[in-house]
C-alpha cells in the first residue's frame, strides 16, 4: 500500500461520498471558488496523477477542522491534509510557510537541546519553581513576543498573567528552562521527525520537574500534547489541563474571585485548536462571565466559529487577511468593547490584519483585540 493509501485508511477518507459539505463550510473555499477540500480528497481516492503532494492547495488549508467537524461521514480531513504535507516533504518539496519558514527553523533549532535562556521574561514579581506538581508550559511565547513586537502584540503578557493569576491563588507553578517548542507548527508542515524529538525533550523536562498536572495557555501546545504526543508516546503520566478549565475549577471552589470593575462588554473568538480540536467551548466563556464581563456572542461561534486565517504559520496570503477582517467586522458588529481570544496565535493574526493599512473603513474593525487571560487578570 502506498503512503497515500495508508493515509486514506487512517483518516477514514474512503468513506467520502462527495457530498461537498466540507467545501461549503470551508473558510478558504468561501473566499476562493478554486479551492475545494472535497476535490483534494477525491483526487487522492481516485489516485489522480500529478502527485497530490505537489498540489499547492494542501498548503492553503487552515486546518481549522470545520470540515472535519461537519463531515457527515466523519472523514478526518484536517489529519488528511497533515498527512499529505508529510508526504510532500518526503518528496522534497519546500513547505509554503509565512515568515519564510522562520518559525519552523527556530523550532528545529530547539530540537537540539541547547542551553536556552527561555525564561528570561519571568520578572521578579512572578513566582515560579523548578519543581512542583503544577507545571506551566509556556511554549513559544517568548520568541513570538519579540518577533511580533512591531505589530504591537504582547504575547508574553499571556504567560506573565497566567503566572500572576496562579500566584494569586497561592500556586507557584513549576517551569523549566529546558522545555522547548511543542512542535505544533512542524507537525502541521509534516515534519513528524522533529516533532518527536521535541516531544521527548518536553516530556523529560516535565517529568524532571515532578509535575502531575500541566497547564497550557496555548491551545496549540495543548492539542499537540493531547493528540500527537499521546499518539506517539502513549498515555502521558501527567494530566493536561487548559488554563481556563483550571481557573474555572478554582472559581467554582471559591478560591478565585474577581473584583467588580463594571459591566464591560466583550465578545469571544473560539480558537480552532481549543474549540473544534479539543472541544473546549464552555470554560473560556464561563471565565469571562465569572470575571464580571458581559459576553456578547458573534454570529459564528463554537463548532461554527470562523478561523483566524492562518495556522502553524503555513500560507499567509491575501485571503487570510480577508478572513481576519471579516471576523473582526463580525466582532465589531456585536458592539462589544473588546474582542477576546484564548490563543496567542489568534491574537497575533488578528492584530496583524489591522496593522498598518486596513482594507475597510477603520471604524468597521476598530475593536481592541486582547487575550482572555490578560483580560481577566485585570480583575483579580
Amino acid at each position: 500500500m502506498s503512503a497515500i493509501d495508508d493515509l486514506i485508511d487512517d483518516t477514514g477518507a474512503y468513506d467520502c461520498v462527495e457530498c461537498g459539505k466540507c467545501t461549503t463550510v470551508c473558510p478558504v473555499a468561501k473566499l476562493d471558488s478554486n479551492f475545494a477540500p472535497r476535490l483534494i480528497v477525491v483526487k487522492a481516492l481516485e489516485g489522480v496523477d500529478g502527485g497530490l503532494a505537489q498540489n499547492k492547495d494542501i498548503w492553503r488549508c487552515t486546518t481549522c477542522a470545520i470540515c472535519s467537524n461537519m463531515c457527515p461521514y466523519k472523514v478526518d480531513y484536517t489529519e488528511f491534509i497533515r498527512g499529505l504535507r508529510g508526504e510532500a516533504i518526503i518528496d522534497g518539496f519546500e513547505p509554503i510557510c509565512s515568515q519564510g519558514g522562520f518559525m519552523h527553523t527556530i523550532a528545529r533549532i530547539l530540537s537540539n537541546q541547547l542551553h536556552q535562556d527561555r525564561l528570561n521574561w519571568v520578572t521578579d514579581d512572578l513566582k515560579v519553581a523548578k519543581k512542583g506538581e503544577v507545571y506551566y508550559f509556556s511554549g513559544c511565547q517568548a520568541h513570538l513576543n519579540k518577533i511580533f513586537k512591531e505589530k504591537n502584540v504582547k504575547v508574553i503578557d499571556i504567560a506573565r498573567n497566567c503566572i500572576r493569576i496562579l500566584n494569586k491563588v497561592g500556586i507557584t507553578p513549576a517551569m523549566s528552562n529546558n522545555e522547548v517548542c511543542c512542535g505544533h507548527d512542524l507537525n502541521w508542515i509534516g515534519d513528524e521527525a522533529t516533532l518527536k524529538k521535541l516531544m521527548e525533550i518536553n516530556i523529560k523536562a516535565i517529568k524532571t520537574a515532578g509535575a502531575k498536572k500541566v497547564l497550557f495557555s496555548c491551545p496549540e501546545c495543548m492539542r499537540t500534547f493531547d493528540f500527537d504526543y499521546q499518539g506517539f508516546a502513549g498515555d502521558l503520566d501527567f494530566e493536561l489541563v487548559y488554563i481556563t478549565d483550571f481557573l474555572m475549577d478554582l472559581v467554582d471552589d471559591g478560591k478565585l474571585e474577581f473584583k467588580d470593575k463594571g459591566k464591560e462588554k466583550v465578545t469571544y473568538h473560539d480558537p480552532c485548536r481549543l474549540g473544534r480540536h479539543l472541544g473546549i467551548y464552555d470554560s473560556p466563556r464561563e471565565l469571562i462571565e465569572a470575571a464580571g464581563f458581559e459576553l456578547i456572542e458573534m454570529e459564528n461561534i463554537c463548532e461554527n466559529a470562523t478561523c483566524c486565517g492562518v495556522n502553524a504559520f503555513v500560507t499567509c496570503e491575501a485571503l487570510s487577511k480577508t478572513m481576519q477582517i471579516n471576523r473582526l467586522i463580525e466582532a465589531k458588529n456585536t458592539q462589544a468593547d473588546k474582542l477576546v481570544t484564548a490563543c496567542p496565535k489568534c491574537l497575533i493574526h488578528f492584530s496583524c490584519a489591522v496593522w498598518k493599512e486596513i482594507p475597510v473603513e477603520k471604524e468597521k474593525v476598530d475593536i481592541p483585540i486582547i487575550d482572555l487571560i490578560s483580560v481577566v487578570t485585570e480583575r483579580i
Binding site: 527556530i106 528545529r108 533549532i109 537540539n112
Partner: protein, 147 residues
Amino acid sequence: MDNMFKPRIIAFCCNWCSYAGADLAGVSRFQYPPNARIIRVMCSGRVEPRFVFRAFEKGADGVIVTGCHIGDCHYISGNKKAEERMKLVRYLIGILGLEEDRFRLEWISASEGQKFAHVMTAFINKIKELGPNPMFGKIEEGTECQQ
C-alpha cells in the same frame, strides 16, 4: 578547544561596501583564516533573520552580516533596517541557547580592507573559542535547569 576544529562561517556582504571591502582585503593581500563563505547580496537590508537561523540550523558555527556604515548605504537606509532586524536575531540567539557571539553585525566600507580582514580573523577566533555549533557538536545529556 580541539585544534582540529575548523569553524564554518557564513558571511553576508552587501555589494557596495563590505563586499568591496572584502575585495580590497584581497587586493592588499591581508591574510585571514579561510573559514568564511561569503554570500553577496545587494544590500544588508536584504538579509532576513531567517537566513541567519537557517545557516545555524544547517550547521554554521558562526554567521556574520556586514554592510555599509550607517549613513553610507547605497540604498539610503537599507543598513538601518538591517540593524533593526538583526536586533531580533541577537535576542533570539540568546534565548534559544546559541551563544550570542556566534552572530555579528559589522559595518565595513569599501576602503576598509584591513578592517574586513581583522573582523574576519577576530570573529573566526571567537568561534574557535566557542567551539562547534552546539547542535552539531557533542550534545550534553541531561542539561540541568538554568534557573
